[in-house]
Symmetry: C2
Subunit: 195 residues, 2 copies
């Protein structure tokens, strides 16, 4: 019965994922990994993000509810991208963020969750963990690289060209590392599937 | 038998914690929370950090192995603290970090882990998760606020006074929020203990 629930939910969620893919709402860089996970009997993905670079304005730290998004990129950027997006800054703290990939995977049972968690950590996703284990057993696959830098306040941008260059280099490094780790994760999943 | 293992390990680890406390190796701000958790039958703490502000030098992002620590503070700071620590910068990326509290709690069983995880999330520790569930069931209590900002390269410090002021404000905000959340967590644990 529990297994039937898992399979029914998997079917339903994967149909939603197909629709989201068709509408271009899923980050293309992460689709091969999602497809591979979803091809395995014991798992399905419930949400994901490839990782991104974000310029946003918030009243104070942590107040994401009232964030205004000025720029969002799923690829490497240059200083001009940031400067151009920063022109819309008005009030509050201006932050440049680079976030690594995140994938939520529903697992059939505790054993399959354990296997996936160990695999994730071994591929460098060292902040991975089990987020829920009552109705759904959910593993969050998450890495450690990130940039969380305030870069301005109340419409003023604080970085000179050289410093902005450093921030952009670091943000782009997060994007590169993300791709590398996802690719390593995909290879390891492939091996798991073929064993 | 499993319960006996749990109790024996708890006794051993708490003895280590007492020694560490006596040697001043445990962040004092977090001790009341640790003591409360350790007074509960179903839990014991295996490691913790109150949160901190750090100035460090790394060759490239993620290479924590080769990090050089130039400054570490468990309290609010001012710009002078950072400038003074930054004088020792030589090579590679210079980062200013502010990290929120982290506590690893070993749980007696899956039910007690579930209870603690839900309590942690409800107190604002939204990045909490189960990190291990084979031999030891370990919940990581972790919040979301943080600052991860590169502030210089190869011995040069990139922030002017106004920008450094913003970074210090944000780092100090992380310290304040950490204290608030720990205090809320302690109150909720108190209620759990008395119910």
């Amino acid at each position: 019965m529990k297994n039937r629930d898992f399979l029914e939910n998997k079917k339903r969620i994967l149909q939603k994922l197909e629709n989201a893919k068709n509408n271009g709402e899923v980050d293309s860089g992460i689709i091969p990994v999602l497809d591979l996970i979803n091809s395995m009997d014991d798992y399905y993905t419930s949400s994901s993000c490839f990782g991104r670079i974000v310029l946003m304005e918030i009243p104070v730290i942590g107040d994401k509810k009232n964030a205004r998004w000025l720029g969002k990129w799923h690829h490497k950027i240059n200083s001009g991208d940031v400067l151009s997006a920063a022109k819309d800054a008005k009030r509050g703290q201006l932050w440049l963020l680079a976030q690594c990939p995140i994938i939520h995977v529903v697992c059939k049972d505790v054993e399959s969750a354990d296997k996936l968690l160990k695999l994730s950590v071994s591929c460098g996703f060292k902040h991975s963990g089990l987020k829920s284990f009552d109705r759904n057993i959910i593993v969050e696959v998450l890495s450690t690289e990130r940039l969380d830098a305030p870069v301005g306040r109340d419409g003023r941008f604080f970085c000179d060209d050289e410093y902005l260059g450093l921030l952009v280099d670091v943000a782009n490094d997060v994007v590169s590392k993300s791709s590398e780790k996802l690719s390593r994760f995909k290879d390891s999943l492939d091996k798991l599937l073929n064993n």
